[in-house]
Subunit: 226 residues, 2 copies
C-alpha cells in the first residue's frame, strides 16, 4: 500500500525547509547581534549581512575586529569567558543553520535537475520550487496558462485587486528573479511576462519528458528583453 511519492513532494518539502531555516537564521541573528553588542557594539553597526556577522564573531576576537574597524577602544564591556562562551556558541549554531540551508539548496537544485531541468535553467532552484509549490505540482503547472504562472505567489494581491479594484499585480514569485529585479521599474511587468511565457514552455517539456531546450529558451528570453 506504499503511496507513490512524486519528486514534487521532495521539492516542496525542501523549499519549505529552506524558507524556515532562513527565518530561523534571521531571528537568531537578531538575538546574537543584541547579545554580542554588550561586548562589541561596533560590529552590529558596521556589518549588515547576517552571515558575515556570524562568521566574524566566530573567527575573530575583539582585538582583531577593533583593528579591522580601526577603532582604538570598544564602547562594549569586557566579558568573563563564561559569559562570552554562550554568545559564541549561539553564533556557531547559526553558522550550522546556514550550512544546512546551503546543503538543502544544493539538494533542491539536484532534484530539479532530474525532474524539471528546463524550468530550472530559466528560474533557478528557489523560484522554480516556489512555483511548483504554488501550482501544487509540476503536472498542474504544466496545465496552467502563462499568465497564471506569471501571478503564482501573488494570490493575495490578485484577490485584493478583484475585491477592491486595487491595481492588479504584475508578478508573484517572479519578482525575485534576477532579470525582473534588474529591469527598470516600467519594464518589470513586461520582463515578468516574457519570462512566464518561457517558463510555460519549459514546464510542459519537463512534464512530458521532452528534450532539453532550457538553454535555447534562456537565450531567446535574453534576446527578447535586451
Amino acid at each position: 500500500v506504499s503511496a507513490s511519492v512524486n519528486p514534487d513532494n521532495f521539492i516542496i518539502n525542501a523549499v519549505n525547509s529552506v524558507e524556515e531555516l532562513q527565518k530561523s537564521i534571521n531571528a537568531l541573528s537578531k538575538r546574537l547581534r543584541e547579545w554580542y553588542s554588550l561586548y562589541l557594539p561596533e560590529a552590529d553597526k558596521r556589518i549588515n549581512d547576517n552571515e558575515a556577522f556570524v562568521n566574524l564573531v566566530i573567527k575573530k576576537d575583539k582585538h582583531a575586529l577593533l583593528r579591522e574597524f580601526t577603532v582604538d577602544e570598544s564602547a562594549g564591556a569586557e566579558l568573563r569567558e563564561q559569559d562570552l562562551r554562550p554568545v559564541l556558541s549561539l553564533a556557531k549554531l547559526i553558522h550550522a543553520l546556514a550550512q544546512e540551508k546551503q546543503q538543502l539548496e544544493e539538494y533542491l537544485e539536484k532534484t530539479m535537475q532530474e525532474h524539471c531541468p528546463n524550468m530550472l535553467t530559466l528560474t533557478g532552484a528557489l523560484i522554480g520550487a516556489k512555483l511548483v509549490r504554488g501550482a501544487g505540482s509540476l503536472k498542474k503547472m504544466a496545465l496552467m496558462r502563462s499568465s497564471t504562472i506569471q501571478l503564482l505567489g501573488a494570490e493575495k494581491a490578485l484577490f485584493r485587486h478583484i475585491r477592491t479594484g486595487a491595481r492588479p499585480p504584475k508578478y508573484g514569485y517572479l519578482m525575485q528573479h534576477v532579470m525582473v529585479q534588474g529591469a527598470k521599474k516600467q519594464d518589470k511587468g513586461k520582463v515578468a511576462r516574457a519570462l512566464a511565457d518561457k517558463i510555460f514552455l519549459a514546464v510542459r517539456v519537463d512534464y512530458f519528458r521532452g528534450e532539453f531546450i532550457g538553454t535555447k529558451l534562456l537565450k531567446e528570453l535574453k534576446d527578447k528583453i535586451k
Copy 2:
C-alpha cells in the same frame, strides 16, 4: 569608556535566545514532520512531542519504528538514500538546536544562581529571567510592589482591562509556574498572589545582597498554599 554590563543583561539576552530557539525548534519540527511523513506517516501521528520525534528519526530506521508501532507495513513510500539524507540532516540540526537551548538554560541558571539566588529558588530560571526582563532590571524589580510583580507578563490583558473593562488578569509569567499550574482553577489567583509576595521579598534580598533565604521562603509558600 567601557560600559558597565550588569548581569541583568546576560539574563535577558539568554532568555530571549532560549525563547527564539524554542520557536525555531517548533517551526522546523513542523517541517520535519511533514517531510518525514512521505516516508513514514505513522510516526507523526503517534509521537506528539517534538524532541521525542526528532530523536526517533535520528536513532531508529523505518523497520525498527514499524516494529515499535506494531505496524506491518507503512503507508509511506520507499525513498532513495539521496532523498532520505536531507530529512535526517534536518532532524540532526533540530537536535543541535535543542542541545543549544539546554546549554543556554544551564547558563541562565548558573548566572541567576550568582545574581539572584533567592528568586531563582522560588521561580526557576526561565520564569525568573522573564520577570527580570519584564521589569527591565533586577533593581527595578526590587522597587516594585508585589501586585505589580504578579502581573508582569500580563501587560496586554491589563491594558485591555483598563480600556474595555474586561476582567483584570490574575497573573502574567507566574501562570507558567508549577504551583499555579497545579492549583485548582478557582485557587490559581490566590496562589499567584502568595507566590508574588514571596518573590517580592526574595528580589529585595537578592538586590541588596542579603543572606540566602530562598529555601525558607519556598517552604513558607508551600505551607501557605497547602
